[in-house]
Subunit: 148 residues, 2 copies
């Protein structure tokens, strides 16, 4: 087991949970910035080549967990592992964002649903699961071409 | 910040890291079981309706982190946030699996790349990013139909 540590923080237009679009058909098209702490900035090397990123972050304004709960998108209760509820045994959230551009330790992205100041735990490149014509895979695609 | 806790453990055919397929074109088609601890089993309610799950798990056999490293799929170094390296500031891994069936607290899945005994941190339904004809969305799709 481990204790989480922030590698950066989100700058978001959403200041409170009620402002984040939720429920059926909610679209997350807000632009924001993932501000990576200076000591982790080297870890962003070559991230520019990817079109989409998986952002893992902490539900830091949620307390405790609830195994069965009713989400905004339904009027029936479902298990926490079948929903995106913030009240989870490990308060880890996942958002897929589009990377617009990088400026040093700042990643300008589209599609955020985090609150302003949210701690970022991890960033991973999205390697599949996006329509191929919309996906770029940066250095990995280049490495594939080099290796034929 | 929080301290991670396992909600279950993976039963996998892979007993050592060298057995897990890695690198370019590596396919993860192994079947395995996500064994959820009895105290969290209620959290699985309605998970059967989803075809694919996002599994967050811990790189429990990895030590420390490396901001720049050379992955098996390339001969050049890249930033940790542009790779799937296990040596991350927060040792959280992500795998998308296909749910074959549920038996109580056991989820039989396809597509695992974890080692046997790996601690599971979280499970979330995959709601998009899979070709629509292959994706089922369980209670959410039903709720959408009910609401018209």
């Amino acid at each position: 087991m481990f204790t989480s540590r922030p590698v950066g923080f989100v700058s978001s237009p959403y200041k409170g949970a009620s402002e984040v679009p939720k429920g059926l058909g909610a679209k997350h098209e807000a632009d924001g910035v993932l501000r990576i702490l200076p000591e982790f900035e080297v870890g962003l090397t070559d991230i520019e080549g990817f079109s989409h990123l998986v952002v893992l972050w902490e539900f830091d304004r949620s307390q405790g967990f609830e195994l069965l709960g009713t989400p905004p998108s339904d009027d029936r209760a479902h298990g926490v592992f079948a929903t995106r509820s913030p009240r989870r045994p490990n308060p880890i959230a996942l958002t897929i964002v589009e990377l617009l551009r990088r400026e040093g330790g700042e990643l300008h992205v589209r599609g955020i649903d985090m609150l302003d100041g949210t701690p970022i735990l991890d960033i991973k490149p999205l390697l599949s699961s996006i329509a191929p014509e919309k996906l770029r895979r940066g250095w990995l695609a280049e490495a594939e071409v080099r290796r034929g």
